[in-house]
Symmetry: D2
């Protein structure tokens, strides 16, 4: 009989993914490999690594580190990813990826003018 991980371990190891990322990534001009790379950046961040290398990213994807570098550049060009500078606990300046540009695009409220879904009609 298989032995499972503890419930605590399962509860501890979740990432929260905005549904809109899953429903709208194609509208942002992304395809599946790019989406998964974004999810890996998001996951690494929750583990305290906010600037994973292309090699670290590639280790969890089916594509090469060269391909990961290419996708990273493309996400930055599309203004979905940025590189920020951040002080770490020792006050040393570090670079880190920020997905804030992506979240800002996803969470912008879109007024709905079309007849089909007039959700808000005050």
């Amino acid at each position: 009989m298989p032995k499972y991980q503890s419930f605590q371990s399962i509860l501890d190891n979740q990432v929260m993914v905005p549904k809109q990322l899953l429903t709208d990534y194609t509208k942002l001009g992304l395809e599946e490999t790019e989406l998964v790379l974004i999810l890996q950046i998001h996951r690494y961040r929750t583990e305290g690594n906010s600037f994973p290398t292309p090699e670290e990213l590639a280790s969890t994807l089916t594509v090469s580190s060269q391909e990961c570098s290419k996708i990273l550049r493309s996400l930055i060009q599309k203004q979905l990813l940025s590189i920020e500078q951040q002080h770490n606990e020792q006050q040393v300046l570090n670079e880190c990826y920020s997905l804030e540009p992506l979240w800002e695009k996803l969470f912008t409220y879109t007024p709905v003018n079309s007849p089909e879904t007039p959700e808000f009609n005050e």
Copy 2:
């Protein structure tokens, strides 16, 4: 200046994704499109649709509904996805997808070499 969604709406619209799905999908023989289709099934479930059609799935992916059908069959063959029967609120028997086989594989505790449970042993 852009107007953003409410914080409540952002908090309401998240899916929880086990980190191990992101770190281990390649070990399960999956590639990115298959992973994203799994995430979409998981998302649809949180929205009350536990048996999305290939067309519904394809509407959020870059691949066709034919390709989605093919991936669904492949996931069932790999014993990561199953089709279950479930009573809905009106006591009508419905089919729904279950990702339980996938979670059971991901959450199986992997003993590290020795017979007891030496979780930390180097």
Copy 3:
């Protein structure tokens, strides 16, 4: 041997709680029963009930429905909870609780002026 719920069921039944609600509720002048009532409103919302009655709330707390009514009024007075009007799927106008005032208070960015961390200096 006990039989546990499915992993799917465990994954499906989580609520996301902002850490700041847990760290800062006392600074907002709240005590534990008020915090838990807020968490129950948040949970009911994820289950599709955005206007739980005092009786429904009391059924999951150790306090009476009269006490729940009193707490609800107090949260509204403290401007942490509001009652909004919302169209449901049948375009009928319904009332619902909104925790948006609470989230706005919690998520307001507090500028840090000094080198240490005097985060709150009213």
Copy 4:
């Protein structure tokens, strides 16, 4: 106009709370202060502190550290909380709180004999 935290910061700072903890804590003989102390232990854990002191716990509650100590002892007596030994990254043996006994109680599948909701009746 208030300035809000980044979306990334909001997404980064959530804890996942099983709904059953919120719906069933009174059935486990707990009241609100005990529930909130459990939530704080759970939160500290996500921040890398798996053995918060009574003083650390009290700093986020309305009760004293003496009262927190008393609640901790009571949770251990009720077999909802345990103290485990764990190797940290430097291979030093540390004590940490485990909520596993609580999760096991909450996630035990309860067969339903009553007429209203016979969910599984194969």
